[in-house]
């Protein structure tokens, strides 16, 4: 458990690209909006493992956001229904529906379409914001905290010592806290 937490902390505070964490957060939000059990969700989820995305952060975000996804369902349903039943898009969706594999994405489901659309809209802003936040965290917040007296005192506690020990092979974290 401690090792798992250390991995997440290491993911947040390491020399890895901040975009990995940002992409993890924004993709987790997209996956939260999308209902599961369809080819679209599965494709995005699987693709995440082949892209430079921090999986630990993504899975944690997914787990944390999932309980709140149901609250957004009525809004997503309305959004999806509006798009799917828009007369101007009927031909497009009909053609799309008749393409191979597309029916299995369940894009014609109101929640899937609403979730996809909402997720796509918020993905880039969330990505930019979270990347900036990670950069701020790494370059300014952590050094400031690490040099503060309370944190130095905290590091000497046994539990925190174990935590830092677990993250020792991530030298950056270790060094920052040492």
């Amino acid at each position: 458990m401690i090792g798992w937490i250390a991995k997440i902390i290491a993911g947040l505070y390491s020399n890895r690209k901040p975009a990995e964490v940002a992409a993890a957060l924004s993709t987790a939000l997209l996956l939260t909006f999308l209902p599961g059990a369809n080819l679209l969700w599965l494709t995005i989820f699987v693709a995440m493992f082949f892209l430079r995305v921090n999986h630990a952060v993504a899975l944690l975000a997914l787990a944390l956001l999932a309980p709140f996804s149901a609250a957004a369902d009525p809004l997503l349903h309305n959004l999806g229904h509006t798009i799917l039943t828009h007369p101007a898009l009927a031909d497009f969706f009909t053609a799309l529906y008749n393409q191979p594999l597309m029916p299995f994405t369940r894009f014609n489901n109101t929640l899937v379409m609403g979730g996809l659309l909402a997720g796509a809209i918020v993905w880039f802003p969330v990505f930019l914001l979270s990347r900036a936040a990670v950069m701020t965290f790494r370059l300014h917040l952590v050094p400031a905290l690490a040099s503060s007296k309370p944190v130095r005192a905290l590091v000497k506690l046994p539990l925190v010592a174990r935590l830092t020990g677990a993250t020792r092979h991530w030298a950056a974290v270790y060094q920052a806290l040492r």
Binding site: P35, F50, L51, R52, N78, P100, P103, N109, L111
Partner: protein, 697 residues
């Protein structure tokens, strides 16, 4: 000073400041690592950044680690994992080749179990993806309501699937071979799913044939039958009326008659006195006139009394006559009541063979119950699979969202073009051939009706079935079905409550046409002919069983034709005729007529007995009133006689008065003539014209 042996390639060459800042410093994202990199690089003579050569071992290691991290941060793909994915795909292909059939079998069984809510088995399923062929040796689907029977069973079958359409989510099979489709077959083990609700028991339904019987017309029951209809008969009312009339007459008439007799008795002295007058002995007018006046007064008195007596007596006579006449109405009432009761017997026995149609109705009812059970299950499954439409109003939110279904523009989601089945050859005497056309999930997209043809020839028996399912239209009959069967072995046993069909056997020919309209109404016609029939029915009425068996034995063939209309699982209209019905009808009719004659005779006897009892009770009253009627007539005659006597005497006196008056006048005229003649004789005669002298008349 140690010289690093393996300087990372990234850091070996001198770097311009721009490259150093962009690719090296900004390649790490921690402040202290950036600071560290700034310290391990130095500017050369050309103002380019070069890694310091005097790095300690520790610094060198850190530089190497940072270089690795910088390199790792390049690009967005994880090539190692992509390679691993390729490996996994390869493994999946191998798995698919080896295990796909087992996976598909389980998936198919689960899907069928979800749809039919009963255990399903798929055996020897084989999917070949490259050729798009799916085959299996058997599919069995248990009946949810009868776990030890299969709802249907399919034998060895093969389907050629269009894979491209399959990737579009469409199941398009241009050809299909299905063998040994069977319904309602037995299962070795129970088909009930764990946790499934208990099945409905079809035997729990009440039988429609309970209480079938032929009317029993036992002569001993005539009195009960008479009592049953007693209130509707006229005879009791007539008897009561006669009794009232006679009682009233017997009570009132004697008193009134006695009063009139007394009145006539009082007149008798006067009448005798009048009768005693010797008219011819009256010799002068004054006496005659006096007598006449006396008689006239007496006559007026008698006339008045007699007129009153006559009126009273006439009334008495009429009343008595009426009371006597009501007596005669008893006979009319008996005739009328017998007609009424005979009609009631006719009502009871009007259609003695109607119960045969009830048996046919129940047989068809059972068949329709099965048919509609299949239909209801199909409707339940269709409702469960139903989705939204693009044009429909906004659906209310529900968990899982709403699927907006777009029309398939090329093929329906499910389509099978031509499906044919055949076994053996016509020459071998064992032949089965079936064809299904245009089965699809969207018949309107296909634009053709779904049709089915099935022909079976086995051991001289022939079956032919043609069906048309018009799902591609919104109107007209939903389904049309035609079946013809020849030389069918019929061996029918059935039980309906108290009635059981013990045997109906013999080679049969059967043909039927049936149509199902869109509100679920079935209309059909069926013709059945059974040759050399054996027909045994146990109705609980021995005579009916015997009559039916005799009728079947007499007839070479039993023919039947039925027209039926059914809604839901009930037959709402059934009409038909059978030749057996005619034979049985004749037998039953003879039997019933015999019973009816005996019953009618007994009924007549009972009615007559009822009337006789009433007659014997009312006879004294009737006799008394009749006697009173006679007495009233006698008294009336007496009154007539009194009045005649007085009137005769009065007329005689009147005539006598006239005679005496005439005689007196003659005498007076003669006397005057004589006096005139005497005076003339005394008078002088000259010049007197004797002819001019007036003469007395």
């Amino acid at each position: 000073m140690a010289t690093p042996r393996n300087t990372p390639r990234l850091l070996r060459k001198p770097l311009s400041e721009k490259t150093f800042r962009k690719k090296i410093v900004k390649g790490v994202y921690l402040a202290h690592d950036r600071s560290f990199l700034e310290t391990v690089f130095e500017r050369d003579q050309r103002n380019r950044f070069r890694l310091r050569q005097d790095l300690s071992e520790k610094e060198h290691k850190r530089v190497v680690a940072l270089a690795k991290q910088i390199k790792k941060n390049r690009g967005s793909l994880k090539t190692g994992r992509i390679a691993a994915l390729a490996l996994v795909i390869g493994a999946a292909i191998v798995f698919n080749v080896l295990f796909k059939n087992a996976v598909l079998t389980r998936a198919g069984e689960r899907a069928l179990q979800t749809a039919f809510e009963a255990r399903c088995e798929i055996r020897d399923l084989d999917l070949r993806l490259l050729s798009g062929t799916l085959s299996f040796s058997a599919v069995t689907v248990a009946d949810r309501d009868r776990p030890l029977r299969n709802l249907f069973e399919i034998g060895p079958s093969t389907i050629d699937i269009d894979l491209l359409e399959l990737l579009k989510g469409n199941f398009v099979a241009h050809t299909l071979s299905v063998q040994n489709i069977r319904w309602n077959t037995e299962r070795a083990d129970s088909g009930r799913l764990e946790g499934a609700p208990p099945s409905r028991d079809p035997a729990a339904r009440p039988s429609a044939l309970e209480g079938i019987s032929i009317p029993a017309l036992s002569p001993e029951d005539a009195r009960a039958f008479l009592m049953q209809h007693f209130e509707q008969l006229s005879l009791p009312l007539v008897i009561e009326d006669v009794e009232q009339q006679l009682s009233k007459a017997a009570h009132e008439l004697p008193l009134r008659l006695e009063a009139n007799v007394a009145r006539l008795d009082q007149l008798s002295a006067s009448v005798e006195r009048a009768a005693a007058i010797q008219v011819q002995q009256i010799d002068n007018i004054e006496t005659a006139i006096t007598t006449y006046r006396e008689l006239e007064t007496l006559a007026e008195e008698i006339q008045s009394t007699v007129r009153a007596a006559e009126s009273e007596l006439s009334q008495l006579s009429r009343q008595a006559a009426m009371a006597v006449e009501t007596w005669d109405e008893l006979a009319d009432a008996i005739t009328s009541d017998l007609d009424y009761l005979t009609d009631r017997i006719t009502d009871v026995t009007a259609d003695p063979t109607a119960f045969l149609m009830q048996i046919v109705s129940e047989l068809l009812q059972q068949q329709f119950a099965d048919f509609f059970r299949y239909r209801e299950r199909a409707q339940e499954i269709a409702a469960r699979l139903r989705s939204g439409e693009p044009g429909e109003p906004r659906s209310p939110f529900r968990p899982g969202g709403v699927d907006v279904v777009y029309p398939s523009v090329t093929w329906p989601r499910f389509y099978m073009g031509l499906t044919s089945i055949s076994f053996g050859s016509e020459e071998s005497g064992l032949f089965q051939a079936g064809t299904l056309r245009e089965i699809s999930s969207s018949p309107r997209l296909v634009g053709k009706p779904t049709t089915a043809e099935l022909r079976t020839l086995r051991d001289g028996q022939e079956h032919r079935l043609d069906a048309l399912l018009a799902l591609h239209h919104y109107s007209g009959d939903l389904m049309q079905l035609a079946y013809r069967g020849h030389n069918l072995p019929l061996d029918l046993h059935a039980s309906f409550g108290e009635v059981s069909l013990r045997e109906l056997s013999g080679p049969a020919a059967f043909s039927t046409t049936m149509s199902l309209d869109r509100d679920g109404t079935v209309r059909g016609r069926a013709d059945v002919t059974v040759s050399d029939p054996t027909f045994t029915l146990a109705t609980g009425v021995e005579i009916i069983d015997r009559i039916i068996a005799d009728a079947a034995a007499r007839s070479d063939t039993i023919g039947a034709q039925f027209d039926y209309v059914a809604r839901g699982d009930r037959i709402t209209s059934l009409s038909g005729s059978t030749t057996l019905d005619q034979h049985v009808a004749a037998g039953v009719r003879d039997y019933v007529e015999q019973q009816r004659s005996a019953f009618e005779a007994r009924l007549r006897q009972e009615v007559n007995q009822l009337a006789a009892q009433a007659r014997s009770r009312l006879e004294p009253l009737h006799n008394r009133v009749t006697r009173l009627h006679g007495e009233a007539g006698a008294q009336l005659q007496r009154a007539h006689a009194y009045r005649g006597t007085v009137e005769d005497q009065l007329a005689a006196v009147d005539r006598r008065v006239a005679e005496l008056q005439t005689a007196a006048e003659r005498r007076a005229r003669e006397q005057a003539q004589r006096q005139l003649e005497r005076a003339l004789e005394d008078m002088p005669r000259p010049g007197i014209d004797a002819e001019r002298i007036p003469r007395f008349r």
